[in-house]
Every structure is written in C-alpha cells, then in structure tokens.
C-alpha cells in the first residue's frame, strides 16, 4: 500500500491510523480535513474533487520523503479523496508518527501545506443556490524547497 494515496472511496481513517503504529513512537499527529458548509460567506451544498492520480501520488510521496529528511519521523502517510463529497466527509488525511510531539506537529502541518500547494487535485464547490465554481487554488511552483 502506498504511503500517499488518492481514493474515490471514503477515507478509512481507522485503517490509516492503524498504519501509524510504531513501537518507538511517542506521539502521533493527525490532520483530517473535512468538508464545511460555507466558503467566504456562501453556503456550500457539496464538493467535487478531480485529481491527476499518477502525478498526485508521486508528488504526495515526494512531500512525505522530504518530510522524512527534515524531521526524525517514524511514519508519515497521506490520503486525498476525489469525487463527490458531502458536508462533513473527510477530504484529506495526513498522519505522522515520531518519538516526540514537536516534530510530529511540525511535520504534519508542513506536509498539509505542501499537499495544498503542490498535489494536482482540484476542488469544485456547489453552492446552496446550485451554482458551481472551482476553488481559487495555488499556482504550482516547479522547484519545491529541499
């Protein structure tokens, strides 16, 4: 199973959490991004995500590998959902295990920022009035920081 995955099924957060188990771990930091019912003052009915799967998996895996180089991590994993998501569903899951909490918090936050900045996934919002719009998004930079 890949350390970073793209899935069109509900993210199985229990199964992903189980993969963080490590006998040397003293802290686990997990971020779960969920679909909220509003964006910039507008009521959101649901989201639809598209993703370029092979490049998303490769880019996500590179982010995790870079995190391993920056912090003494035991495990680092991530998963992004694509397809139709209703309010409250998990859109993204990031989990990190390390000996101590500081690096787990730092790495988890950094990985999530990088995923938002670089992984080729796109979010389309459907509002309460039925109108739709692609989220503004971030222009991907070619050369990520080491």
């Amino acid at each position: 199973m890949d350390d970073f995955a793209l899935t069109n099924q509900s993210i199985d957060v229990v199964a992903w959490r189980r993969r963080l188990d490590h006998p040397q771990a003293g802290g686990l930091a997990i971020f779960e991004g969920v679909v909220r019912n509003h964006h910039q003052g507008r009521a959101v009915r649901h989201l639809d995500y598209q993703g370029y799967a092979p490049l998303a998996v490769r880019t996500g895996s590179e982010i995790l590998a870079t995190a391993h180089g920056r912090w003494p991590l035991l495990v680092a994993l991530g998963c992004h959902r694509i397809g139709h998501l209703d309010i409250g569903e998990a859109a993204v899951w990031i989990g990190v295990a390390s000996a101590h909490r500081a690096e787990a918090f730092a790495a988890c936050a950094w990985i999530m920022d990088e995923v938002k900045a670089r992984v080729p996934v796109w979010k389309r919002e459907t509002y309460a009035d039925g109108s739709v719009a692609w989220a503004q998004g971030s222009v991907v930079r070619l050369d990520p920081p080491g």
Partner: protein, 97 residues
C-alpha cells in the same frame, strides 16, 4: 487501448513534423474543452507552443502563468520539448485540502 496503439504507430517518417500526443484536461480546462482527454495532432515542438495552439483552437482562457506543465507525469518547464506519444497535462492552480 486501441487509441494508444495508434499513437505509438505514429509518426510516419517524413510526415513534415506532425506528431500525435495525448492531452489530459482537468478542472477549468476540462470544462472549457468539454473533454477529459484527446489525441492531438500538432506541429508544436514544445509545451508552450502546444498550449498556445490548443488555447487558440478551443478558447482555453487560463493564462500560462497560472498553469504548470506535466509531460509523462513529470512537471517540466514551458520550453520542454514534446514528442510523439507523450502525455501532456496543463495543470490549473491546485486546490486540494
């Protein structure tokens, strides 16, 4: 997979620089093109020429500075060459999370 067989059967030697490659579309560009993917015949030598050709042909509105190019699943510069059989994707601003 029949479509891919056709791609790899090209180009015919001496066919005046016309190549066939696959372009995938996502998000705004998928909406504008009305397709997930297509096989494109082009004389473009690099990614930038290819995008300009497709933008003119299909009214794609996203400016180059908002896109990044991937060829065969690797992000590359706009001046990267394109070859017969390549898979080219112009990635709009990403919005995961």
């Amino acid at each position: 997979m029949a479509a891919l067989d056709i791609v790899f059967a090209m180009p015919v030697p001496g066919s005046s620089g016309v190549i066939q490659l696959t372009v995938l579309y996502f998000a705004h560009l998928r909406d504008q093109r009305g397709l997930d993917s297509e096989i494109v015949s082009t004389t473009a030598a690099d990614a930038q020429s290819l995008y300009r050709e497709l933008a003119a042909r299909h009214g794609l509105s996203l400016p180059e500075k908002s896109l990044i190019v991937a060829i065969n699943e690797v992000m590359v510069r706009w001046d990267a060459p394109v070859h017969a059989g390549d898979t080219v994707v112009f990635l709009p601003p990403v919005s995961g999370g």
